[in-house]
């Protein structure tokens, strides 16, 4: 079982320039934890492309170690990830999700190492969230991220929180392999994709964010300059991709008024191929503790827009997401999220159901279903029109 690919090796070289840290006098607090998951993905239909299977068994491991000293002012965190997939050789992969040292002094914070950072407020798309590369083969919703090497400085002032990032190395994504599902007919090997920068992965990317809250409003304004995490599609006869250098300015805004959350994310991306804008806006209304039984019912609605239209590497150009979230607030934390994304122009639909609950104190079971309906041949997901699937995950926590 070989987990390490060439990227992981480069990454290891990079982190070997790790700053040595000294132990303080007092006893440090440390915590080691891990979880193991067994996953089965069942695809209802035979694949469109040769080599694809219908059942995929896999196993994943996530060990974590955390230690802090100096009264919590210094800390070190490491979280690793590895998966072995029965058929998809590219989904058999490993990553260092986090491996960083952090120092806190009063209102200031400095971290060095691989980290994961999240920006944004909406649920169905995360357009403002640009720091980390997506672990494409890992999860369908794109919420699994690869660890990003960075120096991250943050300071909290009365007029907001300022975050600055210097990112010396680009994490190349991994696309599904020949035997994998949810892929394009032609295999994409990210190592073959051209970089706009001559420095390739070593182009130093920069990002800055200001965030604050005023009463019911939470706001964030961010700017990213560097290699786009998503390859951009070049206009032309052939399907050609490039890791372009981009300037992306983002806004995320939420108003929390009574039971309703109003959400807005917007970006402007300028690059050498074609500038674009994207937007996600919507609401989340929660009926809390329905008839005194502890059940929360949340209704979600979001509109998604992307000016790239067919040149986008997703299918969210002019779409509406609607969903229902049920939180039972019971002993086993039972939850259910059901939703659908409709393309307003082409009529394509993607229906999703995600449910989870705990068994005992250390086991969880998760069920996910994704169903493609009426997929138009004008959309990117047309390649995956036969890839509706059910995913069952059983996890044990240590």
């Amino acid at each position: 079982m070989v987990f390490m690919n060439s990227n992981s090796l480069k990454l290891l070289c990079l982190i070997s320039i790790w700053p040595a840290y000294a132990w303080a006098q007092e006893k440090p607090y440390q915590d080691f934890s891990a979880d193991v998951e067994l996953e089965e993905r069942f695809f209802f239909n035979e694949g469109l492309y040769e080599g694809q299977k219908q059942n995929y068994l896999s196993i994943a491991l996530r060990p974590e170690y955390f230690v802090e000293w100096n009264n919590g002012r210094s800390s070190f965190k490491m979280s690793l990830f590895g998966r072995y997939d029965q058929h998809d050789e590219n989904r058999t992969h490993a990553d260092i999700r986090e491996l960083y040292w952090r120092m806190v002094r009063d209102n200031k914070e400095l971290s060095v190492g691989l980290k994961e950072v999240f920006w944004g407020v909406t649920e169905s798309a995360h357009i403002v969230n640009v720091i980390n590369q997506t672990d494409i083969v890992e999860s369908f919703d794109g919420e699994a991220k690869l660890g990003q090497p960075m120096v991250h400085y943050s300071v909290v002032k009365p007029y907001g929180t300022f975050d600055a990032f210097v990112m010396p190395y680009f994490r190349t994504p991994t696309f599904p392999g020949e035997n994998g599902r949810l892929r394009t007919p032609f295999l994409i090997d990210a190592d073959d994709i051209e970089f706009e920068s001559d420095m390739e992965e070593f182009h130093p990317d920069l990002a800055f964010r200001w965030s604050h809250f005023f009463g019911v409003f939470d706001i964030g304004i961010s700017h990213f300059y560097g290699t786009s995490r998503q390859p951009l599609i070049k206009e032309g006869e052939a399907f050609e991709l490039e890791f372009a250098l981009v300037n992306q300015t983002g806004l995320d805004l939420q108003a929390t008024t009574g039971p309703v959350l109003w959400k807005l994310e917007a970006i402007y991306n300028s690059n050498g191929i074609k500038d674009y804008t994207a937007l996600a806006a919507g609401f989340e209304y929660t009926f809390g503790n329905v008839s005194g039984k502890g059940l929360d019912i949340g209704l979600l609605g979001e509109y998604l827009y992307d000016s790239r239209d067919e040149l986008a590497f997703n299918s969210l150009q002019n779409d509406v997401f609607t969903g229902v979230r049920l939180a039972f607030n019971d002993m086993s934390d039972s939850q259910l999220l059901a939703g659908a994304i409709f393309d307003l122009h082409e009529g394509s639909r993607l229906i999703s159901v995600e449910g989870s609950r705990r068994f005992g104190e250390t086991w969880t079971v998760e069920l996910e279903g994704r169903f493609f309906k009426n997929v138009s041949d004008k959309e990117f997901v047309h390649f995956m029109r036969r890839d509706s699937f059910l995913r069952l995950v059983v996890s044990k926590y240590f």
């Binding site: 979880d35 944004g120 809250f213 039971p259 809390g288 503790n289 005194g292 607030n329 002993m331 934390d333």
Partner: protein
């Protein structure tokens, strides 16, 4: 006019057990006194063990850490981190309580490193599947209720002042709460909660009181029993620390992320 104002000032400043007070004034005076005697802890930190028992007697356990910053002009700030069950380890909440308006609350989800501002409207909902509602655990500011003194009572040998309090916020899950204050030191010994239909819903018992810094009384165990479902939740407090030197800087969204590790 000035004379009336003076009379009111004088009336309010007389010790609360005075003749001529309405039950409402007396109830408020007791609540204010209870708030006043606990003033000055500045900040506190405590580890909590939450034991949930269902009606069949099956138990489930959660471990939490809580930090509180005492504020006088506005409500307290608090940070709660979950250490177990393991699948929610690192989940944390940051709450800025306000005396008269809705609280501000943020949730940190460690699996995707996301900080999410959440609605604090759902105060009547259960906290972590327990018999405690969010509003039972949030900072008990005097302004959050109106009061009425009921009677003096003997509760298991303790002289108590019984006060009914009525939540100001219509989103509360209760019509009223009946509170037994210890007559000697104003600590709360017991609360009966009445639901929106004014039926007895829950009883909260405070056990194993200990005094810290020669002043602040804290129960080492709180037991909430739901009379309508037969379920029970025990909260066990360990390693209380006061005046720990934490400040506003320890109650920011950055602190929330750090608390989740």
């Amino acid at each position: 006019m000035k004379k009336i104002a003076l009379i009111i000032t004088v009336l309010c400043s007389v010790p609360f057990i005075s003749q001529g007070q309405t039950p409402e004034q007396k109830g408020l005076a007791i609540a204010e006194k209870a708030d006043e005697v606990d003033r000055g802890f500045e900040s506190s930190q405590v580890s909590l063990k939450m034991i949930l028992t269902n009606k069949n007697g099956q138990e489930s356990e959660r471990l939490l850490e809580n930090k509180t910053l005492e504020l006088h002009e506005d409500g307290d700030k608090s940070l709660i981190v979950f250490n177990s069950p393991r699948d929610v380890e690192g989940t944390a909440t940051l709450t800025f309580t306000h005396k008269t308006t809705s609280d501000d609350q943020w949730l940190y989800l460690p699996s995707i490193k996301r900080v999410k501002r959440i609605s604090s409207d759902n105060k009547s909902g259960p906290f972590m599947g327990s018999e405690f509602a969010y509003e039972d655990l949030s900072s008990q500011e005097v302004e959050k209720y109106t009061y009425k003194f009921i009677k003096e009572d003997n509760l298991n040998g303790v002289s108590a002042l019984v006060v009914e309090r009525y939540p100001v916020d219509p989103k509360s899950g209760y019509t009223r709460q009946v509170v037994w204050y210890n007559k000697d030191n104003y600590r709360i010994e017991k609360i009966d909660f009445y639901d929106r239909k004014n039926a007895l819903l829950k009883t909260l018992d405070y056990n194993g009181y200990e005094q810290y810094l020669g002043k602040h009384w804290r129960a080492s165990q709180m037991v909430m029993e739901n009379h309508q479902t037969g379920k029970k939740t025990r909260l066990i407090f360990e390693n209380y620390a006061f005046k720990t030197g934490i400040s506003d800087q320890d109650f920011t969204q950055n602190s929330l992320v750090r608390a989740g590790r």
